[in-house]
């Protein structure tokens, strides 16, 4: 690991702060469920973990894929369900 990784980390936090601050309070619940779905990005690590040689690590990867997938699919779907309801008269 070099300084690039840390740079990416810090810059991403700044970008996060910048864009999230602009989300109005009325959308805070969908923001939480939507960002939750994004934290399901762990799924790509989980997919790679299934290639781990040795039984234990592989099965952990398997469970991780299930968990992350619940997050991704459930998160984006329920967010869509909520956002569909926000209407203006």
């Amino acid at each position: 690991m070099d300084i690039t990784t840390i740079t990416i980390f810090i810059l991403a936090i700044f970008v996060g702060f910048e864009i999230i601050t602009k989300v109005p309070p009325t959308l805070h619940t969908p923001l939480m469920s939507g960002s939750n779905a994004i934290s399901g990005i762990a799924i790509i690590g989980a997919i790679l973990a299934t290639s781990v040689d040795g039984k234990m690590g592989m099965w952990l990867g398997f469970i991780a894929v299930i968990f992350a997938m619940i997050n991704v699919v459930g998160g984006f779907m329920v967010t869509d369900r909520m956002l569909k309801m926000f209407k203006r008269k």
């Binding site: 762990a42 790679l48 781990v52 209407k87």
Partner: protein, 467 residues
Amino acid sequence: MEDISYLISAVLFIYGLKMLSHPRTARNGNILASIGMLIAIVATVYFGVKLDFMMIGIAMIIGSIIGVFFAIKVEMTQMPQLVAIFNGFGGAASALVATSEFLKNDGLRLPGIDPSILLIISITLSVLIGTLTFTGSFIAFGKLQGLISTKPITFKGQQLVNAILAIIMFSAAYLVPDYGTTSLYVIIGLSALLGILLVIPIGGADMPVVISLLNSYSGIAAAMTGFVLVNSGNSSAGNALIICGSLVGASGMILTKIMCKGMNRSLVNVIFGAVGSEVQGSSGEGKEVNIKSYSTEEAAMIFDAAEKIIIVPGYGLAVAQAQHAVRELADFLEDSGKKVYYAIHPVAGRMPGHMNVLLAEANISYELLKDLDEINPEFKDCDVALVLGANDVVNPAARTDKSSPIFGMPILDVDKSRTVIINKRTMNPGFAGVQNELFGYDNSIMVFGDAKDMLVKLLSDLKELDS
């Protein structure tokens, strides 16, 4: 190649989140972010080496079925619970990936593997935060669902126990190079315990803070897992996790900050303060509160004469599932030429934006929902403020009574309106254990009963008056 795919995903996530800044564009933003996720997943599977497609496919199908089931079944009132368990699954996934990386390197003791200090630190943090998020979220879920007491559960020396656990855990992390997997299992076990111990002392009304914080943790755990991947030679996937995890971590942090501000409490106070564990004797006790209790018929007459009405929803509205009943009442009032607005306190309900989602479900225009700063100047020329299942967020003691546990909390100035009609089930004090002096004010009127029943009766009484 997967680098470029992950870059596209990251851009889509950021742009999707940016589109959440307005209700008009928000839905497309969410769709954009989900496309970003699809690209990331497809790229990982496509470019991955030695992957067991069968296994991945089965896991994805199982996860999708469970996810779809939750997403369709959940009621809007239960959204805090759903977000809590999703936070938990996210944290668990991150911790599992880090653990799997660890085992792959045989506890970092394989010959030729350099158990670099950075790898050990990132694995420890990833496992710690991920596991703690998992168990903590399930406790939060249990509290929100009413499976566990919503009262703070405290015992003597709780903070000391937490501190000791943390010290043992960091010692175990330090000993990883010598003890390998054994150390890791100690870290996992203690993190799980710590997650439970950190959430059980937190009371029901502090849940918005806890859920926001766990939301943030689930992101930070993903970012830490990203560091694990980078340190074990998988930098493209690792960077993707770092970027997305940081976005989510920042988002949760901002929400946590907003919630704390909404209660005028510091994060430390929420986590370790256990407010609500004992009824505070300082305020409320000495003061006699004489209330006026009206029937819905009498309340209907007041509404009939009113021009401008502000509705203040609280957690009681969610419990009673009264959002549709509110809409029907508001529709009737608007049809009779009255103005109706909604005042949303930042910590009303059990999670950020909880009330907004409920009212949106009932088809109430988001433009009528006003936040604290916007609505407070409006109360002085408001005829009726209708408080539905809210208590602490309208308690004037927060402005004046220095001995009150909620002193300094920004409140909705309902007491400034001509008449305040408060609907509650019983006279029980609010979460903070404080009797609300508002109930005894000259311009306050109590209407007791379940919010939904009360609103339905009120509406029929109003219709009768009109005919």
